[in-house]
Subunit: 186 residues, 2 copies
């Protein structure tokens, strides 16, 4: 970090309005950007050192599917994955098939309640699609406070999702159209 | 496998037409399903033993974004990731920011050519979204033949994508709404 002027910072979220849409702008005004801090093509810029939590990695990819048996057979027969039998997750109004690939866990979600978020997702995406990416963090409470300070919007039904496993659900409008979920790492 | 009757099999793809959509049905008629072969809640069903390739794992998640700088800052400042500077991938008509998280690689894609698949994706999804999941396989040629036999449709512009790095691009209508890409493992 030597040679890089640092100052106190506060990430801020503002909005650039275009004719057709709102574009979120999350601006790190942080000058020093961890080790390196440059942006040449070869150098990775590190995250700000002040983030009070660490993302440990991708926990799972959740995919909403209109037909759970077909989806399970697809992942078993085309992608060569191990798949579970359907498991009820009644608190979320879905059945889940767990798909095990060498370095990634996939959850295939099918709604059993019309009020579930997955049912609503399938109304908009009847062929199915990626519902959310879930990342594990080492300190979910710190992440919650930080993200609230940052002004990133959370899903309206955040408290409804994963009652057994608390989670932050960031609104896709603030996360480039991707529903990003954060869960406490095991 | 003892005690499980096996017979020759051929995966087949048929279609169940509903009022609102076509639902792909990929049916493994394979009786023995690798080790286990049962479908109780606790047991993972293994893939058919006859698949002539192995999926080594998730290679990357590609996310189309309307604003590359904002997206990069989001992944750096909210998810604490290392991010690269934008890199041209002119053969695909995009600029890419590589995002490095502990166990997953993410590619943020922004179009520089209106004819690119990513530009067309953003026309339909102006806020951005997950463009495709890329899995690494140990034998892409075998995968190609097998998937063709299976009848899974490939993207029309398959040959245009990843000219430097050959890839199979499975059509989302046959993969539960998810654009699945297969690439040769390194």
């Amino acid at each position: 970090m030597s040679g890089i002027l640092r100052r106190s910072w506060r990430p801020s979220l503002s909005w650039a309005r275009s004719a057709s849409r709102l574009t979120p702008r999350i601006l790190c005004t942080h000058v020093g950007a961890g080790s390196g801090g440059r942006s040449s093509g070869e150098v990775l810029r590190s995250p700000p050192e002040d983030i009070p939590y660490t993302v440990k990695g991708l926990k799972h990819i959740s995919i909403a599917v209109p037909d759970l048996a077909t989806a399970a057979e697809h992942y078993r027969c085309v992608l060569g994955a191990q798949v579970s039998a359907p498991v009820d997750q009644l608190e979320e109004g879905v059945k889940v098939v767990y798909v095990k690939l060498p370095n990634v866990a996939i959850e295939l979600l099918h709604p059993v309640e019309a009020s579930s978020t997955v049912a609503k997702f399938l109304e908009k995406n009847p062929s199915g699609g990626i519902h959310h990416l879930c990342f594990a963090v080492d300190d979910l409470n710190s992440a919650s406070r930080y993200i609230e300070d940052l002004g990133v919007e959370r899903m309206k039904n955040d408290h409804l999702l994963n009652q057994q496993q608390p989670a932050l659900n960031l609104h896709p409008k603030d996360t480039m159209g991707v529903h990003v979920q954060l869960q406490q790492a095991n």
